[in-house]
Amino acid sequence: MTPSGGSWSTQQLSEFLVAVAGCRDEASAVAGAIQWAAEAMEAEVAAVVRDGQVIDAVGFPRGHVPEAELLAAAGTRAATLSVDGLGELRIVSVPIEGSVPARLVLGRCDPAGFHAEEISLLRAMARGLALSIDNLHTLERERRLREVSEAQAADNLRLLGMLQERQALLERLSKIQVSISRRAPLHEVLDAIVAGAGELLGDEVVGLRLVDRDDPDYTTMVSTSGLSEELASQSRRSRVTEGAGGRAIVEDRLIVVQDYAGAELAIEAFVGADLRTAMGAPVHENGRPVGSIVVASFRPDRVYTDTEREMLLAFAHHASMALNDAKAVEEMRHLAYHDSLTGLPNRALFTEHLERALARARRGGSRVTVLFLDLDRFKMVNDSLGHAAGDHLLVAVGERLRESLRATDVAARLGGDEFAVLAEDSEVEADASAVAQRIVEALREPITVGGRELSVTASIGVAVSGCGESDAEALLRNADLAMYRAKVDGLGSYLVFEQDMHTVLSQRVELETNLRRAIAGDEFVVHYQPIVNLVSEEIVGVEALVRWARAGQVLVSPAEFIPVAEDMGLIVPIGRWVLVEAMRQVREWQDDRGLGNPLGLSVNLSARQLRQPELVDDIIEALRSTRFDPACLTLEITETALMRDTGRALATLHDLRSLGIRLALDDFGTGYSSLSYLRQFPIDVIKIDKSFVDGIAQGSEEAAVARAVIELGRTLSIDTVAEGVETTHQLDQLRLLRCNYAQGYLFSRPLAAEALENLLRAEAASPRRAGSDGLIAIPQPRPVQRRPRRMERAVRG
């Protein structure tokens, strides 16, 4: 079913956003989101999954959500899910890119699956949901902070009633609160608390201690007043069990010592200084005692009243608030500047570091090196093992990076599978290369994910400051560009940026732009290369080959634009167009040819096309619209295309075969050439690569391979087509080996439709001796034992 009208998705999105934005908490936002998304898509089931768990789902009987199956489906492209009583559901899953990444999963009974516009709408919905959830988290954090300060305000009110004569306390506390809320530096806030406690309680000595983070058996005095320099220095560090402050921490309660010298816990230095009384109250961080505030007096008659005890607790409470707030700020800063998955700095923090490093380098005349890393084939890990495995891998790579760097270097995750490293003080390019080499080494050891050992490589681009670019963005961009080039040169390598890379990039960008324009502007044409029966010499079929007739220019070489079109995904619309156009044209020729064996058509199918869920439907539609006999159609697939997602490729090929379409394995011999492919996949034709045909005349190794392939074909009842035949000698050899069919310049180069039509007419006028413009007459065949007919069916039907 197709959504009615272009405004459909905008409207659905608008309804969705209004509904989700109105939710008061995350759970209801998630529940609302899956409900709305399912309603908009007319899907039967919907769910949100996160951290290997199903957060919420709809469409399953209550208490019977198939968690494992849903999680598996969420991590797989074009997945299906079997539901009792409903059958097979098509599943689509899109990322919810919030601070905690999750996925929105939908399932529908409709076998057509989800339309591209629907998936794009779903992505937009997921983004809307992510934003809402992040907003709700922020609101929640603010609400909690507000609750804390409201609770504090309530305490203050209680104190006010008790201590009306001590209005100053509240004023002091209010000032402290203001400085906390204005995010004054922590030491300033703690100093203000110490000063306030001293002033209001009237004791001569006040101190605030915190437990050492590195050595929790000791405390350090972080703020004092009223202590001589000598005494302050003597008591700066003390054991956590010592003194009124120490005990307040250990016992987590208010400690009052009226006879200090006689107390077991007394600190010697203070006894020596004739301290008489002391009172300590614990200070907390996230509910745990982490320090204490202490007041002490040299006056022997000093007695702490209940009110004064309350006051010290109030100051201690404010110190706790200040610590908690500082920690929350630190955490928020960390969250804002760090990648939640790997804990590494994110792009924003990395850029800040880089800018500061560049400023230092400019002042000191040194250089800064930036490395841009992109994991090779990471998408394959995600697609085949699921997103959870992908996440584990990223975490492991982050750790390896950290371990391989110097303490002064900064590693960051920029997003997806991209990392960056900043190294300062590199004098020469060799230093930069050494860092890159270390990283390559660090990644060499396999990484274990979910019990599997994965070999990971990264392509690394290196850029050094002072090569024309001095701002952070430009340096990072140069490193990115060098990485891109490194990837093109070969996975797992690194490359240092050079200026001419910009030129190559701009050429590529121009090519991409022109390619998009070409699709819109009908600049593609199909050329046809005849396939000849080596016994009858007849043209039994043609291979359709796409050519780009760029406006006002010569044809662009397919070698130049096909890889770019593959990368950009444009190969799918181009491939679809070629299929329909070639079928239409060949059908016309078939009609002209009249009775007799109809002309066959071979069309190449790219790996990307093979992965398209709509492929089979597209081909059915093309066959229908051109009234093309499927038995006359051969689809050519390379081994590499089969290697990716073998299970799915197999299913697709069986679907195509069930339509009556023949399947050819292209460029056979150049890849793995595994026999298992021939056994496993429903292949009707093997195309022998030109490189073997080239060597066939010399009796070389290539000739042996060609012979073996042809033999293999005969054994497995698979037809063989030799590609790139250029000489009569090659032709003779192929005949001797009993290869069934051939194509190549010896017969004809690929021709425009009109030229091919002339050729076919010429052949019809002079059967068995074709020859005209572009076609070389075939030498007389030698006597053969058997006249193979199988391939005729394969190519012609």
């Binding site: 079913m1 209004v18 007319e42 009583g85």
Partner: protein, 406 residues
């Protein structure tokens, strides 16, 4: 005067191949006798024509004393599970009627039934839907199941009831049913469960069967004019369309008669045949405009009209609406996997009655009867219809929903 609508023993017990014991039967009966207890007993007696009675479904006019009517039915049916509701008109095999009662009976070991009711529905419609949905867990496992829901259409957004039930039963169990009526008084509807007469409730029956159950749903309305943007709405109330007061846009675009602009009753009569359409993936969803607030210039619908969406004025005529009747019946029957129906239930929007007129609804019921091929037919005119077979949404307006049992 007694009026028996249907031939009561309407089909021979159907048997599953190879399991002669697994039989099912469906019967229906109706009465227009004025005395409620007598009418109930007459209709039930006509409906119950087999052994092993499993479920009674009652559709009755509020002109009856429903408590007395139930007592009459239970004289015949005993303690057999029973659900039902008040109507805006009843449907039986030989035609539509008012001020009457129609009883459908299901029986035989081939059926397994569980019923449930949830009160205080308006306070939390989703909870009410979920509560009654639980009865699916109590029904014996059979290959074909459906949850029949009868709700209070005046209690708020009925899509919430569907969502609640769906959340419990999941996608594998279709939902079907309708909103109770009150003869267009639009004040209070009633639901029936066991021997009790309820208000503000949802009642349901989980029907599990050895043989297929088919559901058809069609409306027959089409878009007219340009779309309007719902610029402000809260749940069922539409406040503005294209940034203008919704009521004014509605009245002006439809060139409404003068009395509909001032008189609430006249507005409801007019709105009955002028629903709104909301754009959905596979077409449009129809929204019945129930009332207008002449003070704040808003309009109220029977289900949610989301803010930010597009809406159309919809129109229909006798032909398109009757065409939908045929299609709904054919859809329901085609799901029976080639079996003949042994009973048919229809949930028909009161608004369609407005478009078709008295002659038209007689024709509609005649067509339903023809499609059912002599199997018993029962149903009622509703304030909203429920049918969820595909997707997740299942509340409809101005629609005919047909449930065929085989």
């Amino acid at each position: 005067m007694e009026r028996i609508f249907t031939p009561t023993e309407l089909s021979a017990p159907a048997a599953l191949p190879g399991t002669a014991s697994a039989t099912r039967w469906v019967g229906s009966g109706a009465s227009s006798t004025a005395d409620s207890r007598t009418a109930g007993a007459e209709a039930a007696r006509a409906a119950v024509r087999g052994d092993d009675l499993k479920l009674l479904v009652v559709f009755a006019s509020q002109s009856h004393d429903l408590a007395a009517l139930l007592a009459g039915i239970r004289e015949v049916g005993g303690d057999a599970p029973l659900i039902g509701c008040s109507t805006a008109g009843e449907i039986a095999a030989d035609g539509p009627g008012d001020a009457g009662v129609v009883v459908t009976a299901l029986g035989g070991p081939g059926f397994s039934i569980a019923t449930a009711a949830a009160g205080n529905a308006a306070a939390d419609l989703r909870r009410a839907g979920a509560t009654v949905g639980e009865c699916v867990e109590r029904v014996e496992p059979r290959p074909h199941r459906v949850l029949l829901l009868l709700t209070d259409g005046l209690a708020g957004d009925q899509q919430e009831v569907v969502r609640g039930a769906y959340g419990v039963v999941g996608a594998a169990v279709p939902l079907v049913g309708g909103c109770a009526g009150d003869d267009l008084k639009m004040t209070r509807t009633q639901q029936l469960c066991g021997g009790e007469v309820l208000v503000d409730s949802v009642v349901a029956a989980a029907i599990a069967s050895d043989a297929p159950l088919g559901i058809g749903v069609r409306h027959g309305w089409r878009r007219v004019g340009d779309p309007m943007l719902v610029t402000a709405s809260t749940n069922n109330r539409v406040l503005t369309l294209d940034d203008h007061p919704a009521l004014d846009v509605y009245l002006d675009r439809l060139d409404a008669p003068a009395e509909a602009r001032t008189d609430p009753a006249a507005f409801t009569r007019f709105a009955l045949t002028h629903p709104l359409g909301l754009s959905r993936r596979s077409g449009e969803e129809v929204r019945f405009v129930a009332e207008a607030d002449f003070a704040d210039r808003s309009i109220g619908c029977i289900a949610e009209v989301p803010q930010g969406g597009l809406a159309w004025m919809m129109e229909g005529d006798g032909e398109s609406v009757l065409g939908a009747t045929d299609e709904a019946c054919l859809d329901a029957l085609s799901a029976l996997e080639g079996r003949d129906p042994i009973g048919v239930m229809a949930f028909d929007c009161i608004a369609r009655r407005g478009v078709l007129g008295e002659e038209g609804i007689r024709e509609e019921v005649r067509r339903i009867g023809l499609h059912s091929g002599g199997a018993p037919v029962a149903g009622f005119y509703t304030y909203g219809e429920i049918a969820r077979t595909r997707g997740i949404s299942g509340f409809h307006n101005q629609t005919l929903v047909v449930l065929a049992l085989s």
